[in-house]
Symmetry: C2
Subunit: 338 residues, 2 copies
């Protein structure tokens, strides 16, 4: 599109430990014209999520890593500026995997049109989007929470954990969060109405969690790993379920530390199961239909941390990997003119 320039963040080198802004190049290029079935969009909101650290490593994983010189991948919300597909028109707002850039050329089939009036646009990247769907799928497909059970959620104030815990409350469970620092813990208890929240920075985490879970743990929703995992595993009840959603505490590590001895899994008949949200694509629409009314009526709570400017996406990723965010991490790349 003659005269229309875009900026993209491309991977310059694989990060050693914490990703740095210098690990990316900012590249300017002319926005291509859309071919048949293609759509050009301008980015409004960019989602920043812990899983992105895995895309920066060449370690084997469930998804192909980003290659050196490629645009960093990621979900984002954009406004259509040019369309060569009958399904989209200029001014439409869409969500999709559009990458870390100010404008994207996408296949129409890879985009989903959003209703501007259904919820704040950026909620489609958080509470109603991939993180919310992850929490829903984890609870539905693995957690199977029953009323009266004790459910522990690590990274409880995060985009996934905050939804997972609120779902467990709706199921009638006693819900205990684990979060970093008093501010997050207060919000988890007061806004999300968890029954308790343990600050993982206290000196005796194991004892603090035991005190908060007098009847042990029936479901543990794992987002963190490390010491937090050890503390929770030690309290698992017979027939407990562990939703293995993530282990963000080690995502910057090049060598992973040893884990728990698994002898307890036999004697306690524990089930530990991994979850990748994209394995059950039908959960996306299910969750949006279920949760949109709760977002509108204010009964499903969430927080966002916003940084401005595409160039700050690497910093936002640092924050999400170190707990420097509070709730869903977002980059505002451009204005919402809608």
């Amino acid at each position: 599109m003659a005269g229309l320039l875009r900026r993209s963040l491309v991977l310059r080198r694989r990060p050693d430990g914490e990703p740095q802004p210098e690990d990316f190049d900012i590249v300017e290029s002319e926005v291509p014209d859309p071919g048949l079935g293609e759509v050009v969009t301008r980015t409004i909101w960019l989602s920043i999520d812990p899983y992105m650290r895995g895309r920066l490593s060449d370690r084997a994983s469930y998804a192909t890593p980003v290659q050196i010189g490629e645009v960093m991948t990621g979900e984002s919300i954009g406004e259509v500026v040019a369309s060569a597909d009958p399904g989209f028109a200029a001014g439409d707002v869409v969500v999709g995997s559009r990458g870390w850039q100010t404008h994207s050329l996408s296949k129409a089939a890879a985009l989903t049109r959003l209703d501007r009036d259904a919820a704040p646009l950026q909620a489609n990247l958080g509470v109603l989007g991939m993180p919310g769907t992850t929490a829903y799928s984890g609870m539905k497909d693995i957690g199977n929470v029953k009323a009266g059970e004790t459910v522990v959620i690590s990274a409880a104030s995060g985009a996934v954990g905050s939804v997972a815990g609120q779902l467990a409350k709706r199921a009638g469970a006693r819900v205990v969060g684990i979060a970093g620092g008093p501010e997050k813990c207060i919000w988890v208890q007061e806004a999300l109405r968890f029954d308790d929240c343990v600050d993982h920075r206290v000196p005796h985490l194991q004892q603090a969690l035991a005190d908060a879970c007098p009847n042990g743990i029936d479901v543990y929703f794992e987002n963190v790993g490390g010491e937090v995992q050890a503390a929770a595993f030690a309290l698992l009840n017979p027939f407990a379920r562990v939703v293995m959603c993530g282990m963000v505490a080690q995502y910057n590590e090049s060598r992973f530390p040893p884990g728990p001895n698994l002898g307890f899994v036999v004697g306690k008949r524990v089930r530990i199961e991994g979850l990748i949200v994209s394995d059950k694509p039908e959960r996306v629409a299910e969750w949006r239909a279920l949760a949109s009314p709760w977002v509108r009526d204010g009964s499903l709570h969430y927080r966002e941390t916003v940084v401005d400017g595409l160039e700050n996406a690497p910093t936002a990723l640092q924050m999400v990997l170190s707990g420097g965010n509070f709730g869903k991490m977002l980059v505002r790349v451009g204005p919402d003119r809608g």
Copy 2:
């Protein structure tokens, strides 16, 4: 029963590491008369199983430990010598949890009458009994093996592993055993017809197992733990299932070593699930009905290691914990007069 003496092995002290004969006392006492609804039996076969090590520790477990001065628990087969219950008559042969002793006084409801002609009596403690049922339940309730998948069985020549692997073969899987020493490996391949068997004593177990599993591992049936577990976990495929049946390699340890870092569980969506056979009591009769014809027609293979004399039960337990047995470990306590 005036004049009828029995010998019992009672726990003298909790073993430190490997159980020793000196950890038990042999106590002689008069066999009590049966009260209403009770049955007195004479022991023929005593089952020795790895789980028994847990009963000797006061560590929290799914079952109450044996107390100092109590008769050691265990399944056994006996002949009725006196009955005060209409359901049993002298000469009947029964199986039940009768403990390490030459005669038992049992509630009739705790005993199951055996058909002497259906199978060799002692098969009811092994291939048709608790170990066989464990293998069946593990494969049915957790493993969910599909044709063409790769299944790895640790302790493959053991009472549980040998059945688990033969079930996987019947399901059309490629089955790889792990066993200790060439004699066991040869039997696993030639008699049990596993596709391959890796000797866990080879210097490069990880590589040997990888060579035997060119398509990775879809189901891992865990009986061992330790290095064997690490080697198998490293080869798990996406959506693999791990049947956590036991970790005998550490049963004599007072402190358990660390285990695997569980990051792979997320990315590979692995399910790791513990199994205790008594949780699904209906599997016992199901398995007996299914497998008895296979035992009679010789299509379900098994081996036994027999030691004679009640006083040798602690030595038999040592053997089962160190891999000194070959197949089902049994103690012949008295003659089968039937």
